[in-house]
Amino acid sequence: MSEAAIEGAEAAAAPAAASALRRSLRAVGRTGVVLAKRALMLAVLLAVVFAAIELLPGDAASATSERGESAADTAARRRLLGLDRPVWERFPDWMTALPTGDLGTSARGEHVTDLLAAPFPNTLLLGATAFAVTLAAALALGCWAALRPGGTADRIVGFASGIALALPEFVVSIGLLLVLSLWTGWLPAVTLTAPDGSPASWTMLVMPVLALTVPQIGWNARIVRGALADQAAAPHVAAARLDGLSPRRVLLRHALPGAWPAIATGAATSTGMLLGGAVVVETLFNYPGLGTVLSGAVADRDTPVIAGVVACTGAVISLVLLCADLVRARTLGARP
């Protein structure tokens, strides 16, 4: 092997490497722009949260005042919490501290970061489990219904999903409590926590997850069924049927890939509803999650805590929406 040959190979490899580098740099740049846009969206959302709490009657100092506290004490605490300053000064202060991981101090003097450290993973666990169950059940039901359009399964799924969609989480929760806990005694009615603040066993998750997923399964099953019906009318799906492929293959290989964008978008919007529903469900089952923290914080007009919760859930929702957009871009990009 002569040196000249090695040099030649390197010379040939150099432009290829340079173009690969340029491509990857461009990809990084594009990703950066997308992420910056999402971060900006989150900042706007937090500004709205600050403004909304400002509009509520009362403030944290009066909401958390001890019985028999004098007006002067309350005013002193208001000054201590910085609540005497206008909201347009407090918001930038809070926002500039956010990138360092400092979510501020609650009205009761605790660090918000510590306050959320235990409940946030619990809510993530609840939400992620509910999301996975929702997606799996909605796909299964939607596909089952789409296999025989107009058949018994289709009509049952259509009818049941309509009802499930209309049920609020607390109605489902109460129904589950009655059946699974009070009548049969299979599951405990309230969540017991382990010493580290997480649920004591997985059985504690069953009822909250079910209460969250039932309405969302109804919603998503309808979206899956509708997207598959649209795809079934596409010429290439009709052609696949005329090629004598099995109904299952036509559904999974030809109709479902085209339905992904609609399904992903529907499921991503469910994330918001799952996390919103978690507030109700966690309160009902006494589950140690963000919902419990949030309902307490709203009663206290505790702006940093509420904004901290919104920052966490907002980041999760943005991330899921971003994933849905990626699925969409990938499916549509595969066309040419």
Binding site: P235, H236, A238, A239, L242, G244, L245, P257, G258, R335
Partner: protein
Amino acid sequence: MTDSPTAVHVTDLEISIPGGPALLAKTSLTLRRGRITALTGPSGSGKSTLLRAVIGDLPDGARVASGTVEVLGHDVLALPADRLRHLRRHRVAYVGQDPGSALDPRMRVRRLVAETAVDPSPQAVRDLLAECRLPVGDGLPDRRPGALSGGQQRRVALARALARRPDVLLLDEPTAGLDATLRDEIADLLRHLATTRDLAIVLACHDPELVDHCADDVVDLGTAASVNTSGAAPVDTSGAAPVGMSEKTSVEVSEKTSVGRSEAAPASISVNAPASASPPRGDATVPLLAARDLAVTFTRHGRTHRALDEVGFSVAPGSSTGIVGPSGSGKTTLLRVLAGLQHPDAGALTLDGRPLHAGARRRSRAQQRRIQLIPQNPLGALNPARTVGATLARPLRLHRTAAKADVPDRVAELLDHVGLPADFARRYPHELSGGQRQRVSIARALAPGPDVLLCDEVTSALDPGTAAAVMDLLTRLRTERRLTLVVVSHELRLVAACTETVHVLEAGRVTGSGPSRRLLPAGTLPPMAQ
């Protein structure tokens, strides 16, 4: 002839929509193994309906009024669903009129072919693609249908049909959109398959040369139907029926009107914009539409495909220019660039000597109006959720070429111009035959009163009579309104007959241009013969 075994036996089949038009007048058909049968007849005579009936598929709402269909010993119209599916999967293959939309847009060519194949190994798939005259060397098996030309899509669909090694092959317009060389190759391939695999092939076809080239038997649905129905009650084609693939009688009538009109005094009707909206006419030395050094490349996964390479192009006002070339040579891409639908990587466009923006959205409303494209695939280009009337009314309103109250009249007038009855305005695209859809597509392009009409294989879905009528219409409009035509077609005779200048594209480059008469001598020999 009579000793070869019968594969398909259709006896006195009549298909109609209850209370509506007949889709197929009483027809009998026998297919034998090792023989090729051609179905001919004007568009709307039920060729596609008959082919679909052979695989047991009827149009929505249609009923079999009488007759039986027996395929390989099975009565397909009475077969249970799973056995019918088995028949379609393994023994009978059908390729529709519009393979571009029938191929799954998300699957790559090799998977599309392997999916139905008896032998799905990569080598077998490549062999089959090569057998269908597809270039397998340049990464075609890894492309998706959207990255193939119309002719390539058609051959991929054929390969997918052959992969299951069927006993009966049903082809709807197998060579529409293919040039003469390819058409003859496909004809030879079908001939070869029929003989070696003992295959019964039936093709619905408008192209008399293909029929001459490879068909053993010819069934003319136009005449067969009239003979067979002579004793029966005449088919009611009042046109008031809500659903119908086509109406034979009305098509024939309209054809007569359009032919008659092309002979009649022209000034009586005007499909174009009001005279005030007509553009300033430059002198003949300034080309109306010109392109310089166009380059278009498509890149997929690092592989670059040059669709256009330094292409120059110009048309004089009122002229007619043809673009010919083999399948995949970039003809459609060139038209799309001129129409502003495809952004070129390099090059410049001018209209009346003034720069024209490459993207249609950046062009002025008047520029948009003046250049209209008639696309290759009329089913894909018509919105399935809109009636024909709504489709035609939209450009009229958008370009304000007609007052609101006049729109219905103008729609009727446009339909009349392309030889369709006025009540077609209430129909949806799926209720029309392939030829009728193409006419609607042409009417839509005419609606805003364009100066330049870009025609992409406008006659490939039409039978010779209809194709001639449509080309007559375009030629007449051209002389009446100084309309400028750019015609992409594989039918060299047609290009020779209706154009003065022709450009030959090969692999994205212009390899020849000049007067049509010189480049396409008598329209018989392809200029790009290998």
